[in-house]
């Protein structure tokens, strides 16, 4: 081996030492706790919610999201008509440990590299039913823990719903509090409102999807367009 070849080999061998060390992949539980706790600072974001109904055109709406460092979030859905009133909901986060326990009771969870969403590097969480069916995927901001993107899938693997932050200001200046406070009452997924009921059945809708809470044989049952963890949380809330 000539001296020249030896020098080239040494240089090639030294290259990996110069490379930036990869961020260690976090554990699934730690990442979920971080995602459920949310960022420690206030932020402002624009979120796009898309619903994919089978055999129909996708539907979407835009939400202005602002959050306080405490985790309280204000979501304002802007109507299509300019003069119409916007719809607002204010929510406090759930205790992260309670959310993790529910998710763990329903899903097997794995972590992988998530790519970039709204210019933020993410980790991807895959939440699979015990049967192996992929039900949810979450993209979590590596730095702040903010949930940047969420997708929900049907049993056949087709996409049912996507919630994605399309614009983000983090950290963002936040007021001491919002004008509105969270509404007391049983929890429902974001964007859903009580739509009526009767005969022991209560129906909730977001204008496109819906679910029902009914009493059958002395037990509460949830049916409709909800993922298993959301259905479990609705049951918990109505059972209280």
């Amino acid at each position: 081996m000539t001296r020249y070849k030896l020098a080239v080999l040494l240089v090639l061998a030294a290259l990996p030492l110069q490379a930036k060390p990869r961020t260690a992949r976090p554990g699934a539980d730690a990442l979920i706790l971080k995602a459920l706790a949310g960022p420690a600072t206030g932020y402002a974001a624009v979120e796009r919610v898309q619903v994919f109904l089978p055999g129909k055109k996708p539907k979407a709406l835009k939400v202005n999201v602002t959050a306080l460092p405490s985790g309280r979030v204000r979501r304002e859905v802007l109507p299509l008509r300019k003069k119409a009133a916007s719809l607002v909901e204010v929510r406090d986060p759930e205790r992260p440990e309670a959310g993790l326990a529910r998710l763990r009771s329903v899903y097997a969870i794995s972590v992988s590299t998530g790519g970039v969403v709204a210019k933020r590097k993410t980790w991807k969480l895959e939440l699979r039913l015990k049967s192996g069916v992929l039900r949810r995927a979450w993209w979590v901001d590596r730095d702040s823990g903010l949930l940047m993107k969420r997708e929900t899938y049907r049993d056949d693997g087709t996409l049912r719903r996507r919630e994605r932050i399309v614009k983000l200001e983090l950290p963002a200046p936040a007021p001491a509090s919002f004008k509105l406070a969270p509404v007391a009452g049983p929890w429902s997924p974001e964007g859903f409102a009580f739509a009526g009921g009767g005969g022991g059945t209560r129906r909730f809708t977001n204008g496109l999807e819906s679910y029902e809470v009914a009493e059958a044989g002395g037990k509460l049952v949830v049916t409709g367009d909800l993922a298993e963890d959301d259905a479990a949380r609705v049951l918990e809330a109505h059972g209280k």
């Binding site: 996708p58 202005n64 204000r74 916007s86 614009k167 963002a172 919002f178 009526g196 809708t205 204008g207």
Partner: protein, 115 residues
């Protein structure tokens, strides 16, 4: 002297003052009258090529419009200021189902950031 005499004298004075136009001038005027009027495009081309004030004004207006379009497109669309609702706000929890249904619009199904 009566009025008729005055008019006659004035007419005679005018006749004596009348000088026929030069032949060259008459010919030029006739040539110009016979020449067809330039078309609209021809007039526009002359305006555009020339150093007229019109050309400078049109150029300045075009440039201003271009700058205006660029500035409008580049203006960042900020999310609503935290805690401040610019328009009347209604609680989602109290919204009628039809108001919720009216929020949704057709979408391309894309998975992109907002530009």
């Amino acid at each position: 002297m009566n009025e008729d005499d005055d008019a006659r004298l004035a007419k005679a004075a005018m006749k004596s003052l009348h000088v026929p136009a030069p032949e060259s001038l008459v010919a030029d005027l006739k040539r110009l009258a016979r020449k067809p009027a330039p078309s609209l495009w021809e007039r526009l081309r002359v305006y555009a090529e020339g150093d007229s004030a019109w050309a400078y004004g049109a150029g300045a207006a075009f440039a201003a419009a271009g700058v205006g379009v660029i500035l409008l497109r580049a203006a960042p669309e900020r999310p609503a200021a935290p805690g401040v609702a610019e328009r009347p706000a209604l609680r989602i929890e109290a919204a009628p189902p039809q108001a919720l249904a009216d929020l949704w619009s057709d979408d391309d199904g894309g998975d992109n950031d907002e530009i």
